[in-house]
Symmetry: C2
Subunit: 535 residues, 2 copies
């Protein structure tokens, strides 16, 4: 399973795609039942907020957590006249939508304090880091708020693949992704063409189909005319690139990798026919860091945010919902009250907060696992991957345990320095790596990187790492729904618990994505508003 094909922030594609399809097909009965319970029959629009009418004037909404879900609700409900108050444990807004740059501080649970020492202008998006074009809810707000975007390079055929300790001749070889794609697809096209030509697949194809299929295969696989053999192609790269004059002139073609070596290596599994839905280009990142989105929200709703304030307890009765809160600086404990509460606290944290939720609701909260995940940003003295290797952005794919991929920055093209992502790990690997000190993690990442780039170690300048499952107010990267919990706990948590509504990436099928937080917030605020109008 390719870790690069994870969601923006983690979450593994293949499993999620499976869940999508399972739920979409197998779970239709459940879906319809819950839809009817809501009185909704149209799918929610994901490209803009719900069009709500009626006033929220005179009504108070207590929003727990000033991440994207919380601030989305404050922003939209504020337009309707609601008085929103946001309670935020951190000293800044955005939740996981963070960017580590010079001065950014992080102390993991049981860990030592890290203060980011990157140069001015350098940063790592250690939370969400990419916005696919089809996350229209996220792009709705970047457009509405005028947050400048730049392209995030998620696919780069020029980027290396390096798998070690695998079967066959390609183990420990530094290859470019395009070499593998061109050769594997070329060989497969040749194989199928041969089968078609020799009448092996006659029963399935008409004569006309055969002609069309051979034409397709020859084109896709760069097969030679006539004998339909794959002999390599310029698209896999040259030994010497084409250029001027006669030397290099047309360049020197490169030799394809052998079919058997490729099959044995299993490297063909680094790509698919098309990327999975959330991994598709065009992808974006805000210029200057992902937290520009958080800041754009905070600029609009920041006055309603009470920072450095932890939620200790939640209580409600038929009239009111209240939260017991604690000022982290003074230790002072107080009570805030409202008509409704939108709780965006991760379930991994909420499960340890004292509430008077019903037993089934509490059980549902406790049933949801959160994904351990870690990242490390490494500021490099020099952009050697661009200068020496001609790789501009994208992911270096490895099979190194605890490393996964090394991702090259899509900003500051051709600049002096650059900050890359040295690892992006998940689950047991993430837990293991997170047990290391920050310095040990840096060494772990460096030792991996220098296997691929000899220039790696000498260029490492500053590092900053995070293990989200050890971050106090997150306790994990994102909700990691099992088939079981999605079936049993999810519908329970989507319903209001008295005057309390849950929202966040966890209440969506876009877990780990900012779009999940925003769209969940849109959906839950609409339910809250419908209720408030008749309350």
């Amino acid at each position: 399973m390719s870790k690069v094909q994870a969601n923006s922030f983690g979450g593994i594609r293949t499993r999620r795609e499976f869940l999508y399809r399972t739920a979409a097909i197998g779970g239709l009965g459940l879906t319809m039942a819950t839809m009817n319970a809501w009185g909704m029959s149209e799918p929610s629009r994901a490209d803009r907020p719900p069009e709500l009418t009626g006033s929220g004037k005179g009504k108070k909404v207590l929003i727990l957590g000033a991440g994207l879900a919380g601030m989305t609700a404050a922003y939209e409900l504020g337009k309707l006249g609601y008085e929103c108050q946001l309670i935020e444990a951190r000293s800044f807004a955005g939740g996981r939508c963070q960017t580590a740059r010079r001065g950014f501080e992080l102390t993991e649970l049981g860990g030592e304090k890290q203060v980011c020492q990157f140069d001015e202008g350098e940063y790592i998006n250690h939370g969400p880091w990419r916005i696919p074009y089809n996350h229209r809810s996220t792009l709705h707000y970047t457009r509405e708020f005028g947050v400048p975007l730049e392209v995030f390079i998620n696919d780069n055929d020029a980027a290396y693949v390096y798998h070690e300790k695998t079967a066959g001749a390609l183990s420990g070889k530094r290859l470019r992704q395009g070499e593998i794609k061109a050769d594997m697809r070329g060989h497969v096209a040749e194989l199928l063409a041969k089968g078609v030509q020799t009448g092996k697949l006659d029963e399935q194809l008409t004569e006309e189909d055969k002609v069309l299929l051979l034409d397709y295969l020859a084109n896709e696989g760069y097969l030679s005319k006539g004998d339909l053999k794959y002999l390599g192609t310029g698209g896999r790269g040259y030994k010497v690139n084409p250029g001027a004059g006669v030397n290099p002139g047309p360049g020197t073609p490169s030799d394809p990798l052998g079919f058997k070596a490729l099959l044995g290596s299993k490297l063909g599994k680094i790509y698919k026919s098309v990327n999975s839905f959330t991994q598709q280009a065009t992808m974006f990142q805000p210029v200057g860091g992902m937290d520009q989105i958080a800041k754009a929200f905070a600029k609009r709703v920041g006055k309603s945010i009470r920072y450095n304030t932890e939620v200790l307890a939640i209580r409600q009765n038929k009239q009111v919902v209240s939260a017991q809160i604690k000022d982290s600086a003074t230790g002072k404990i107080s009570l805030v009250e409202a008509d409704f509460c939108l709780c965006t606290i991760p379930l991994s944290v909420l499960r340890n907060i004292d509430t008077d939720f019903s037993a089934p609701f509490k059980e549902a909260i406790a049933a949801v696992a959160y994904e351990p995940t870690g990242k490390i940003g490494i500021q490099m003295k020099r952009r050697f991957w661009e200068e020496d290797d001609a790789i501009y952005g994208g992911h270096i794919r490895t099979n190194f345990k605890g490393i996964g991929s090394i991702s090259l920055p899509s900003n500051h093209w051709q600049g002096q320095k650059g900050t890359l992502l040295g690892y992006y790990n998940f689950m047991a690997d993430a837990v293991e790596v997170s047990a290391m000190s920050p310095a040990q993690r840096a060494e772990f990442a460096t030792a991996a990187g220098e296997k691929i780039f000899p220039q790696y170690r000498e260029n490492v300048e500053k590092t900053f790492s995070v293990a989200w499952h050890r971050v106090k107010y997150n306790m994990g990267g994102w909700a990691d729904w099992s088939v079981e919990s999605r079936k049993n706990a999810y519908p329970v948590l989507l319903e209001a618990e008295g005057r309390v509504y849950l929202a966040g990436e966890h209440m969506s099928y876009l877990t780990g994505w900012m779009a999940g937080a925003i769209e969940s917030s849109w959906q839950q605020m609409a339910k809250l508003h419908a209720r408030a109008l008749v309350a």
Copy 2:
């Protein structure tokens, strides 16, 4: 043949790839012979200028044409102490490296004057428009000169394909490229998997190979486990996208296109295993227009450029080379002299200049065809392709005669307006369209665009078109070498004609690309310098 898969500036991939390979393999004898004649045995470095030693002090070089080839030579030879004088027919430097923005003027031969009326900030790169990552010579100068780059989106699976009047059910249907890729590759994977499973291809595969191949096919083609059928995938898009709650929740899957319909449509030929070499991401464009590169050169060598000056004649003897030149404003004719001349004038123009070149050299010049090609930039009131269709950059692929592709801008993401490329045509199509007036071309492009986007016509605001074969100082997009002319004329033109050296994209295998101009200049200046040192 996909016109989008043309070079940066035109030039058709498939034919060029063929030529590369032909020359690389078949033409080796010739290549070696010419290499020896040069006394060169190493291929030229394409990532930086040749490392030249020795002084050019006291020597004059007359450079005809202040395009990228001419300015590259002036910049590098200037470092060695040569006194370079550039003669430029236009009022600005850069040659074809132009950007049309507000106030830019163009009068084609026999055509009416166009003055670009785009809004401030909007522009079209009507000459070269993209820099692939492997054009390291171009990227050498953007880095050295600090020209800021942004990503040019050359691949976008979300972009539409629209073929009309073709066979079968998909004619006249607006599809996304990713739908075609996912479905065609999925069906083909299923077909091959079936052949493998039923023992049809036994003789070619071992049992172990079969297992590995099936695993690969299932992964690449998103085949269902067990029966290895292709039933669609999230990667081809959803009917309703996944989102929050249970509605849309996991989303509603979309249905794949049928294999037979796809085969019959031939739409599978819009893509290949990997893009051809020059079409590969990561691609770039300078922020603010391609002419930022020309301006960066001109900033460094501009003082040596004599603008608005046409070359009427070239003469030489054993001591000196001279050019008769004409000041376009005053009509005054004068003579300039130098020790050597680097002539970067396109062969299509040079062939009509009075020279005392030898008969074989003149014949060689006359033997090279130039490609007719045209583009139109259309400023749109609104970025409807982003806002309504969620397409961010890339090419809309059509089979409309004279249109080819419609290319969406990779700048000003989510801005108010945007300037797209309404057509990019070649050869006979380009000649035909270029016979229209600018207004007729605009209508021609609009009528095509509105077949695909109903929002097209109402958003057309300003247009600017160019037909390069009708531009006085170019007479074509780029040198269009035939197998014959590459074999016979090319080696002749690469040799010095007395004291005159030719340089430009035409003297390379990267015709139509800026890299061709730069690398040719590097190569020819090195020869000139070697000669000057012993002269």
